[in-house]
């Protein structure tokens, strides 16, 4: 079982990250996935997070309690959610937006310039797909194939090719990161 949290500020596509991953797992990877979201009444700005519980059998308890994976795309989100990441957990963060408070070696950290990659592809809005590429490569919780299959319907049709490109860019970068820093136990917690 995996517990994953995506976090950032509103408008970064945080909810979409969990939706795409959850759909990929539930529909194309034959896993059980439960996605929950929590955010304030405001639709833009403020800390925002979405959670996924992934399992081989039906998920009963739907909430993330001790996530093994945290994706943080903003400093606020990092400050709020990093302490809940379990020891040895994977932290993937946007290296230009988040300054980690010291590396204590408690978690396995993977910084990535996802916004810059997205801008290189034409729009920072693609940062969430770059992030998902990095996430997919590093955690191997979901297959890249399933992720791409999950995109139609969750990203606008006309942006599908560029979103796939963004995902691939993140995925390549994730593999590079992984090569440099393999996961401690070979699999995601």
């Amino acid at each position: 079982m995996h517990e994953v949290r995506f976090s950032g500020f509103g408008g970064q596509g945080i909810v979409r990250c969990a939706l795409i991953t959850g759909k990929a797992l539930a529909m194309y990877d034959d896993k059980y996935a439960t996605m929950t979201q929590s955010f304030g009444p405001e639709a833009r700005g403020g800390a925002c997070s979405s959670q996924l519980v992934v399992s081989e059998s039906r998920v009963q308890y739907p909430y993330v309690t001790e996530p093994g994976v945290l994706v943080a795309l903003s400093q606020d989100a990092y400050n709020k959610y990093e302490p809940q990441l379990r020891d040895g957990g994977i932290l993937i963060y946007e290296e230009n937006l988040v300054k980690p408070i010291g590396d204590t070696g408690r978690t396995q950290v993977y910084p990535a310039p996802v916004t810059r990659f997205a801008e290189e592809l034409g729009n920072r809005l693609f940062a969430n797909l770059v992030t998902l590429g990095v996430f997919t490569a590093i955690t191997r919780i979901v297959t890249p194939d399933a992720m791409k299959k999950a995109l139609p319907g969750l990203v606008p049709d006309r942006f599908l090719p560029v979103n796939i490109k963004a995902f691939d860019r993140g995925y390549e970068y994730g593999l590079e990161l992984l090569e440099r820093h393999p996961l401690a136990r070979g699999v995601a917690p």
């Binding site: 959850g22 529909m27 304030g40 009963q60």
Partner: protein
């Protein structure tokens, strides 16, 4: 009631990754609902939005009314216009609906109303879950009556129970409620929609007989009269006043007794047919946790912890909330040490459990304020207390 296959036009067969709100709309369409009148309110709006988006190609109609009072009023008109009808709302809107829910009850008009519960009182916490309207759905409109209410714990069950709610509503000519909550409403999971021919749908029981003999009501306390629709020449009349079989006002205590006992008995006498429960490891249990909706899924962790700690713990999930499963609970009460009843309110369904258990065993309620779910540890502590 006989079921037939769903109209394939409304059925989005296949696997989907949906939230509970969207699944409700799909369930309604699969059940043959072709008229939806609603008013936007968090956290239920997505159901209305999905219906609005899907209905034109399915041959249905969506109208956004001026408020929730008008929404239920429009459902009553549309149901007698011949359609299967639905609306969805949350706390404040549910309060506004109460007036015409009473008219629907009194005129025995089938309709499905989903309440995606959020924390109150009043505007409360619009974006956060609660289970605080469980008694309101039962008693909220004035007078004496019964309704049917179902409580899904997942998006899949939102779909399944939406179909079931329509079937029950048509069978008993009674407003039928889906009492879900913000968490289930916004939680995404895989929802499998079966092929249309595997979805059993109860169609409207149309009257077939001489026009002059048509009576919109029969006060048998068991079955309900068949229906007709406006425009077919039956010249029917319905009223919220106490009425006779023809639907004409009859303002006497005797007639009121006939009508009201029928409204009550048509549900109570069929309770065994209506009630659905999900039981797990009840046999030999010392403690049984009774829960419903999202809280069942929270309680499942507490049940697991209790079992690991050596307490024989059973779980009883109320899929049907109203009519209440009093017979089954009374039966279990004689065999166990205690019930534990967690719910996101400070004591609503626990009172029904206490009433049904009638002192035969302990009943430990685990109340919780709206806006958040329980910590499983709280429920575990209650299980331990009940097991003493």
């Amino acid at each position: 009631m006989r079921k037939s296959a769903a109209d394939p036009k409304g059925v989005l067969s296949g696997s989907h990754f949906l939230d509970g709100d969207h699944a409700l709309a799909e369930g309604a369409l699969a059940a043959g609902c072709r008229f939806f009148a609603g008013y936007p309110i968090t956290p239920s709006t997505e159901t209305a939005e999905r219906f609005a988006e899907r209905c034109p190609a399915v041959g249905g109609l969506f109208i956004q009314m001026e408020d929730e009072i008008a929404s239920v009023a429009a459902l009553i008109g549309a149901a007698w216009g011949g359609q299967k009808v639905m609306t969805v709302t949350s706390g404040p809107g549910f309060s506004l609906m109460m007036e015409n829910i009473g008219l629907a009850v009194m005129t025995e008009t089938p309709m499905v109303i989903a309440n995606v519960q959020r924390a109150g009182p009043s505007t409360g916490l619009p974006t956060l879950p609660a289970q605080q309207d469980m008694m309101q759905v039962r008693w909220g409109s004035q007078g004496d009556y019964r309704v049917i209410a179902l409580c899904p714990d997942s998006p899949q069950e939102c779909f399944d129970l939406a179909v079931e709610a329509f079937n029950l509503s048509e069978t008993y000519r009674v407003p039928t409620f889906i009492m879900t909550d913000e968490t289930v409403g916004h939680m995404h999971e895989k929802v499998v929609i079966p092929p249309a021919d595997q979805i059993g749908v109860v169609g409207r029981n149309w009257y077939q007989g001489p026009k002059a003999d048509y009576r919109p009501y029969q006060f048998t306390g068991k079955d309900v009269a068949p229906m007709v629709k406006a425009g077919d020449g039956y010249r029917f009349h319905i009223t919220g006043l106490t009425h006779d079989e023809r639907g004409y006002p009859n303002l006497t205590v005797e007639q009121n007794e006939k009508v009201v006992t029928h409204l009550i008995e048509k549900i109570d006498s069929n309770a065994d047919r209506i009630i659905r429960l999900d039981e797990d490891e009840i046999e030999g249990a010392e403690v049984v946790v009774i829960s419903y909706g999202i809280t069942s899924r929270i309680a499942s962790r507490a049940v697991q912890l209790a079992r690991e700690a050596g307490i024989k713990t059973g779980s009883l999930r109320l899929i049907t909330i109203w009519p209440f499963a009093e017979k089954r609970i009374a039966e279990l009460a004689g065999k166990i040490k205690g019930f534990v009843v967690p719910e996101i309110n400070y004591g609503q369904m626990v009172r029904e459990v206490e009433r049904s258990a009638a002192g035969q065993c302990k009943v430990v309620g685990v109340g919780h304020c709206g806006g958040a779910v329980h910590d499983p540890e709280e429920i575990l502590a209650a299980i331990q207390e009940a097991a003493k």
